[in-house]
């Protein structure tokens, strides 16, 4: 049943449930992580757990068209070089409703979640959020 007071942190995927890599990760390693998770997003953090960027399937599609490098060169790129450096994020203590509105407004399916110390603590994925909301 829909709970209007549900918070992002109640619904988000925890750190071990979505792909997270360090900023010196090669694209090939990043793609392996994404494939293993079946998610179209990857979060890149520094050693302080601060979010440095995100990489999505869409970013990759656009890069493949705009930069006509050999695949082997792409695979050797630092994932951070292909990432969005200032992604849209949400705080873990925000309401789920607010997060879903944010997703709708920006036509996105995933929101990296940070805490009050700006550390990455989770990922809000629309499918999981809907499942929770619908009690599935």
């Amino acid at each position: 049943m829909l709970n209007k007071n549900q918070l992002v942190k109640d619904v988000m995927l925890n750190l071990n449930e979505f792909p997270v890599v360090k900023s010196n990760c090669l694209l090939k390693e990043a793609l392996d992580k994404m494939n293993n998770s079946n998610l179209g997003i990857l979060c890149i953090i520094n050693s302080n757990q601060t979010l440095k960027g995100i990489l999505t399937d869409g970013d990759l599609r656009r890069k493949l068209i705009s930069e006509q490098k050999p695949f082997s060169a792409f695979f050797s790129e630092d994932a951070i070089n292909l990432a969005i450096n200032k992604p849209i994020i949400i705080k873990d203590n925000f309401s789920l409703k607010k997060a879903v509105v944010c997703m709708e407004k920006n036509s996105i399916w995933d929101l990296p979640v940070i805490n009050n110390k700006n550390k990455l603590v989770g990922l809000l994925h629309l499918h999981h959020a809907i499942k929770v909301l619908l009690g599935l």
């Binding site: 010196n24 090669l26 050999p70 082997s72 060169a73 050797s76 790129e77 630092d78």
Partner: protein, 290 residues
């Protein structure tokens, strides 16, 4: 990626900074240490030329040539004798010295004498070699393997960094083009520089035709000056060339070393183009073609 400056030399020898927006540095000498007299002769000759042209340089000569084509080729004077000679060159001329090493057991001694430790191209991805090179704590000049793409050198960089050393220079020395032939892709210089480390161009090995003559390598040294001009205009931080006063009778790489009599001319061209390139960037700004 933030560009890094590598400092080569310590103690009584001249400290040389290699990196972005700095003067071009020359790394050169005979391929192999043939004997003490010849090594001193070459160091003295090159030193005079570099002083005259006001070019900072690092003396290079190897004590053990472990990748010769033939078992009958000159292998070198050996680690102990070779490092002793390099140490004397270092003291006599007050310049940094470098040699490669091909065996993990030689790394420590090489690092104790050499200001710059070189990784042979054929060994550029050997983890055990990179580990002991990093452990010397000295700057490392890693030659890009002829079989490697420039972007794949990142794996070797990561290995060295992981072993605790971030004083790295990357050297381009040609890429295999079929059998017994190398070509130069000048894009490699820019691609390798993307990791922020200084990039060097090895002009004399780039014109090598590996083992093209059955039991030795051939070479087309007439192309050295043109490739030096191209690489310097493209953008490098150091230039590497092997030089000999009598190439025909050189004990190693006789078909690729540059005759000493051409060195001043080639270095002058390289220095001039390097400076012009920096001046162009100052005046017109950096490349911004998307």
């Amino acid at each position: 990626m933030k560009s890094k400056i590598v400092v080569v030399g310590s103690g009584k020898v001249k400290k040389i900074n290699i990196g972005k927006n700095l003067p071009l540095v020359f790394i050169g000498g005979p391929c192999a240490i043939e004997n003490k007299d010849h090594t001193f002769f070459m160091a003295n000759k090159i030193n005079k030329i570099c002083k005259e042209l006001k070019i900072n340089w690092i003396f290079k000569a190897c004590y053990d040539k472990d990748c010769r084509s033939s078992i009958n080729s000159f292998h070198g004077v050996g680690k102990d004798e070779g490092l002793r000679i390099l140490e004397e060159v270092r003291k006599e001329f007050g310049i940094p010295v470098t040699s490669d090493f091909s065996d993990t057991a030689w790394a420590k001694a090489t690092g104790e004498v050499c200001d710059l430790v070189q990784i042979p191209a054929y060994l550029c991805r050997q983890t055990s070699i990179l580990r002991v090179a990093a452990m010397t704590k000295k700057p490392i000049n890693i030659k890009k393997g002829q079989f490697m793409s420039p972007w794949n050198m990142k794996n070797s960089i990561r290995k060295i960094e992981d072993f605790g050393n971030n004083k790295i220079i990357l050297t381009e020395r040609g890429t295999f083009f079929g059998y017994n032939m190398l070509v130069n892709d000048m894009k490699a210089l820019e691609i390798m520089s993307e990791d922020g480390y200084p990039v060097c161009y090895d002009a004399t090995h780039s014109i090598q035709m590996p083992t093209s003559m059955g039991n030795i390598s051939g070479g087309q040294r007439e192309y050295i000056p043109g490739l030096v001009r191209a690489a310097t205009a493209s953008g490098i931080n150091a230039l590497f060339m092997e030089v000999h006063n009598n190439p025909k009778n050189a004990l190693s790489d006789a078909n690729t070393v540059l005759h000493l009599k051409y060195l001043k001319n080639v270095l002058f061209q390289a220095k001039t183009i390097h400076k012009l390139r920096l001046d162009i960037f100052k005046k017109f700004g950096k490349d911004n073609v998307k």
